[in-house]
Amino acid sequence: MNKKLSGLSRREFLKRIITAAGATVTIGGISYVATTGQEILEKVVAKAPEKTQWARVIDLTKCTRCGTCVEACVKENRQHLYKKKSKEWINKRYSESYADYYANNPMPSDERPRDWIPSRLYWNKMVTYSGIPSKGAQGNRKNIQIPSTCMHCRNPPCVAACPLRATWRRDDGVVVVDQDVCMGCRACIAACPYGARVFSERFGVVTKCNLCKHRIKKGKESDELTVGEDPEATPRCDLDCPFDARFFGNINDPNSNVASKVANNPNAVVLLPEQGTDPSTYYILGEKP
């Protein structure tokens, strides 16, 4: 059965049934299917050129898959403190708020995070994707390992799935979770095609990459700092990359490093464009160094 022809109208039909009873929120359907980053960029910037939209570019021709970004994220976001099966975990779900814990526990620098929780529960992961073209939209399709995290989609299926409005997309493009509202039903994890969201077993809520929003905030509040350029105002994984393979900035600003990377490179793509999620994370395809 051709899903494109018959499935789409059914999906629309289903969604209308669900939202019929007074729903005013509309689920963004699949607006377009693009294969290259340039095509996406043209449409995105045309929509609202003046709005800041944070985006990330990962250059796979420079990335050696060393895992420094994974480790950096684990440290920065205290994920190594979710130690598995220790006594201190027990019964903490109700006595401790995620936000308090996060605020009261400064980042220890001397611990080796990989010994702690299973890596599948990190926000940043090394994931093997199948059928990725080696170059641009053409080229041989093969399985490649890439650093993967939340894509901060413009049409995020996880946000539509959450019953409690505990997760949403901010105006600047960051998809965030309010851990004080989330009830841990994990519908958003089931909805995410990238496997980006993880369930924090310690706190009983869903967590995910928030583009180091505390660092973005710092950059926006200070006149001297530029987000994506100054170290204090750049997400930690992008900052720590030893091979200069990760870039972060405002995709709607044509002068930003991310916009120029995507605009000038025909090999810049997004993952799984057919899912209609319209991600803000771009990958530059090519041979591994």
């Binding site: 598995k84 946000v159 841990g184 089931a190």
Partner: protein, 386 residues
């Protein structure tokens, strides 16, 4: 007198063993709720065995609610003697189902955020939570009216609202799965799940009711008139179950054919899930019950009714398992697994204990209701029917 005493002794042993099982299950439930790292879940398989048991029980309650509406609202004669039994079974399965999903959620009490207006109207899970909440309220109202005899004129309206909410809740649960485009087994035929959920709910409602009523015929000391009434009810239920098994079989067949090209369905039909599908879902859940029930003479014997309804329920449990776990363990569209056709998922000990907890609690509560509630005084009720 002596016989009664022996019966009571047996009943006591039965109840105590069930309580022990509930306590063991509750230990597993405590662990899954409060001790992190006790569930084998991940970012790829976020829903496990806990969700399967939950769906199984809410499936039963929806089916029972439809049967209850047939008895109390539409006054279908053969079902009237059973209407109190249907009601208490529907209530028990719903309450246990809701307890199970609360245990499965990370912070279940936060669901009350819905009451303070913290809602996302686009989420199917919101609608099903609200519908099940409303359904529970109207089901309890029905219970109150039926067992106390007060406010009788409100029974039919409450029954109608309850069945509308139950069917809405259950079809929304089907939609919850089919709108998840990332999971290919569910989104491959998108209108399938909501309809199939309702069909299979009615089958499981019939399975539970036939199993319980036949069990009552075996165990309880009933007078001859009541036995005749129950026999007539069971004959009706047998025919209805036959029809619904055929409908369910049709649904499973067309879904398998339409989605046969998808890798997810291939995994179910010919891959690692094939034994579960062909042996439990098709053979035990559909073929054997159909063969047992098709002959009016043999199909109406107690052993045939008991075994076929039991097998139907086993089959339906596996249908839920294949649906939830089969849909989950398929890798996400882009993610490749080294040499594996699907993400390995084996329920942990604690997750398995959730199954023990759910079934032991339902059977325990049903035993207590059957013992202490006036479920068999329906002879009068039958005469009230037109």
């Amino acid at each position: 007198m002596n016989k009664k005493q022996t019966l009571n002794k047996k009943l006591l042993t039965w109840v105590i063993s069930l309580i022990i099982l509930v306590i063991i299950g509750a230990w597993g439930a405590y662990n899954t709720l409060c001790v992190p790292g006790t569930e084998n879940l991940s970012n790829l398989v976020p829903w496990g065995l806990g969700v399967v048991v939950y769906i199984f029980f809410v499936l039963c309650t929806t089916g029972l609610c439809v049967l209850s509406a047939m008895a109390s609202v539409f006054k279908i004669k053969p079902l009237v003697p059973l209407k109190r039994r249907i009601l208490y079974l529907a209530t028990i399965t719903l309450v246990v189902g809701l307890i199970l999903i609360a245990i499965d959620a990370g912070k279940p009490l936060r669901a009350t955020g819905i009451l303070s207006g913290h809602i996302n109207l686009a989420s199917p899970m919101l609608w099903l939570t609200m519908c099940y909440g409303g359904y529970l309220i109207f089901l309890l109202i029905e219970d109150f009216i039926e067992f106390t005899g007060a406010f009788k004129k409100f029974l039919a309206p409450a029954g109608i609202i309850a069945v509308v909410l139950a069917i809405s809740a259950h079809s929304t649960m089907g939609a919850l799965f089919s709108v998840l485009d990332a999971r290919i087994l569910w989104s491959s035929v998108e209108v399938y799940e909501p309809i199939f959920f309702i069909v299979s709910a009615i089958v499981s409602g019939l399975g539970v009711l036939i199993f319980t009523t036949t069990g009552i015929l075996y165990l309880k000391d009933l007078d001859q008139d009541l036995r005749m009434d129950y026999r007539a009810s069971l004959d009706f239920l047998r025919k209805m179950l036959l029809v619904m098994i055929v409908v369910e079989g049709f649904f499973i067949t067309w879904h398998s054919i339409v989605a046969a090209n998808s890798s997810a369905m291939k995994m179910i039909l010919f891959g690692d899930f094939a034994p579960l599908f062909w042996i439990f879902e098709v053979l035990f859940g559909l073929a054997v019950p159909f063969a047992l029930l098709i002959s009016p003479k043999f199909g109406n014997t107690k052993s045939a009714l008991l075994s076929s309804s039991f097998l139907t329920l086993i089959g339906l449990f596996v249908v839920r398992y294949n649906l939830v776990i089969g849909g989950m363990v398929r890798p996400l569209p882009g993610i490749a697994l080294k040499g594996l056709s699907h993400v390995p998922y084996v329920p942990s000990l604690y997750e398995s204990l959730l199954v023990v907890f759910g079934f032991a609690l339902v059977i325990l509560l049903a035993t207590l209701c059957e013992r202490f509630l006036p479920t068999d005084s329906e002879k009068k009720l039958l005469r009230e029917a037109p």
